[in-house]
């Protein structure tokens, strides 16, 4: 069974088209991440799935049923918001139970589900507190708990970690992945953070300017990007794009090489000068300006004694290089 099926979704606000002809399926139990730069329409798409926004055209089906005219509460979804959106005047427990009470669930069921969610999220000590007495991470857990107790067919996460600090974000990321394994639920997760996308997703949907650039598993997108946008968006530091720096490069094509695939060699095809050195301990990042005046980043494993202003030569394995045409589309060819 498919958890979600979007068919030719379009959305415009006035004359501005924010979503263009989006078709997607999410399989049962799949963790799908919508990723893209801000303003690409990913949150709008999520709100259309939730029923908070109506699509201009196209259909939304959740669990096999067309839900275009069904109100949010009856779609079998639960949503976790970026701002948590906890009810400030209700206790943690009341926050979690409000939706179930509205559904008219019997008391015993409510009690059981809340107990289960509280245990799963480690919220036992906070059940009677108000949201204002909780830390950011705890609030986020409550928001997730509020979604879990609904036992929805589909979870929607709208940039849930972007209000947390870096350390907490990493912990919560692991917790969300863990939760997905425990619940086996279908999840749609919106983020602009490619690390979250890569680490959490079964399937990534890369969006830009209201249309889907590419859909695939994280490693598929990383190893085999369909265009320059996807290639540059995923991976950190992001891919280098060179038009003229490589000796013997075909004119009019763009060569893409990931920073980790570049290596220092005496007779490399790329020559340049180091402009900045970042020492991270485990890795060393070099920023290089090539003799053809293009910037690139090199990621070296281990520690290197390099200094700014030093001339350097770089090379790469042709099997790691990507080629793009002037329209930013991938040229599939064996070697340059």
């Amino acid at each position: 069974m498919t958890a979600l099926e979007l068919d030719k979704i379009c959305k415009s606000f006035g004359s501005v088209e924010v979503l263009k002809d989006i078709s997607l399926t999410v399989e049962d139990g799949e963790f799908v991440v919508f990723v893209g730069p801000s303003g690409c329409g990913k949150s709008t798409l999520l709100r259309i799935i939730a029923g908070l926004e109506d699509p201009t055209s196209g259909t939304v089906a959740i669990g096999g049923d067309m839900v275009n005219t069904v109100p949010p509460a009856k779609r079998g979804i639960a949503m976790v918001f970026q701002s948590y959106a906890l009810y400030p005047h209700l206790s943690v427990k009341d926050n979690m139970t409000l939706g179930l009470k509205q559904e008219g669930q019997p008391k015993a069921v409510i009690e059981e589900r809340v107990t289960k969610a509280v245990r799963m999220l480690g919220l036992g000590a906070y059940i009677a507190r108000r949201p204002s007495d909780l830390s950011g991470g705890q609030r986020q857990r409550v928001a997730i708990g509020r979604a879990i107790v609904r036992e929805p067919k589909l979870f929607l996460f709208d940039e849930p970690l972007s209000n947390l600090d870096a350390a907490l974000r990493m912990n919560m990321r692991v917790e969300i992945a863990d939760l997905h394994r425990k619940l086996g639920a279908s999840i749609i997760y919106v983020t602009h953070d490619q690390t979250e996308a890569m680490t959490l997703a079964d399937k990534i949907v890369v969006l830009r300017d209201g249309h889907v650039e590419q859909v695939g598993s994280p490693m598929e997108l990383y190893n085999n990007p369909a265009n320059q946008f996807v290639a540059g968006f995923l991976g950190s530091p992001s891919m280098n794009f060179l038009e003229k720096s490589v000796a013997g490069q075909t004119a009019g094509t763009i060569l893409g090489i990931r920073p980790e695939h570049l290596r220092l060699t005496e007779n490399g095809r790329i020559r340049g000068t180091i402009t900045h050195v970042e020492r991270l301990g485990g890795d060393t990042n070099l920023l290089v300006i090539t003799d053809a005046d293009e910037k690139l980043t090199v990621r070296l494993f281990g520690q290197y004694d390099k200094s700014v202003g030093e001339a350097t030569a770089l090379d790469f394995d042709d099997s790691h290089a990507f080629h793009f045409d002037q329209d930013r589309q991938r040229i599939y060819q064996s070697a340059a």
Binding site: R47, A50, G51, L52, P71, P72, A73, K74, I77, A78, M79, F81, Q82, S83, Y84, A85, L86, Y87, P88, H89, L98, G99, Q102, E103, R146
Partner: protein, 279 residues
């Protein structure tokens, strides 16, 4: 950051200004209250002294209470004030929510039309209002006053409340929608509790002018059964003789209920004023 703690001199100066202002503001009230406990001669001979054993007298209060209907006037004032506040807050908040939350044709225009009501005093329409009240048979009823005061208070209420309601996060309302709350429940259970300080502000702004108003009670409801306190006190002021004891006593008594209402709202009000300051 270093400005956070001001010098002692500035603090003293600020407090001095505030204390002087408080004295100026409270002085007339103080004079009214002390004189209400004095004999008529003492009021005129030494208006600024406190009542002593010679000049102390409760004659004013006795006159007021003997006048009989005074409790009725109190009751009328109370009904009119509380009733008007109730409708102003209910309808004002509902209209403000609609204007703040929903995108519809004419939203902007409607907001401007209501803002117009803030600029044009309702008393300009007194004659038309009186005609309307006569035709609907509402003259000499408390409803006439409640309706007029509600109309008078709504524009400012909508204006203030819609500004506050726009600040309530969309995510919160959407979370309510996903949890299955109806739009009415979102309004009453999520939004209203969050704008409570603003509601208190609106209530206090409206309460005092309504309580003190003489104009509309005199024109729309001057009958004995519907007199408000301010209008009732006027019986002691004659063209030739004024019973000052009674007037001062009546005024002193009139302060009490409005003070009680203010205490109810003030905690919320202070929170409303400082709500922007502390995040």
């Amino acid at each position: 950051m270093s400005k956070a703690r001001q010098s002692t001199g500035a603090t003293i100066a600020a407090h001095a200004v505030l204390i002087v202002y408080t004295i100026i503001a409270l002085f007339p009230v103080f004079v009214i209250v002390i004189n209400s406990f004095k004999t008529r001669q003492a009021i005129f001979r030494e208006p600024l002294t406190l009542p002593d054993s010679d000049s102390f007298s409760l004659i004013g209060y006795q006159t007021v209470l003997k006048q009989g209907d005074f409790f009725l006037y109190f009751q009328n004032s109370m009904i009119v004030t509380v009733g008007s506040l109730f409708f102003i807050l209910l309808f004002g908040a509902m209209a403000a929510f609609a204007l703040a939350e929903y995108r519809f044709r004419g939203n902007m225009l409607m907001g401007l039309y209501l803002a117009l009501g803030i600029m044009i005093p309702i008393r300009i329409g007194t004659v038309a209002i009186l005609e309307m009240m006569v035709q609907t048979g509402l003259v000499n009823t408390l409803w006439a006053l409640i309706l007029v005061y509600t109309a008078q208070g709504l524009p400012l209420a909508v204006f203030i409340l819609s500004a506050f309601m726009k600040q309530v996060s969309d995510d919160l309302k959407n979370a309510g929608r996903i949890d299955g709350l109806s739009e009415y429940k979102i309004f009453f259970r999520l939004v209203l509790p969050l704008v409570r300080p603003a509601m208190a502000t609106v209530a206090v702004f409206n309460m005092i002018p309504i309580w003190n108003d003489l104009w509309f009670p005199l024109i729309l409801a001057p009958s004995e059964q519907t007199k408000t306190l301010t209008l009732g006190s006027q019986v002691f002021i004659g063209q030739f003789v004024t019973d000052w004891n009674a007037v001062l006593s009546a005024l002193s008594l009139a302060i009490l209920p409005v003070m009680a209402l203010y205490v109810v709202f003030s905690r919320q009000l202070i929170r409303g004023i400082t709500s922007g300051a502390v995040k």
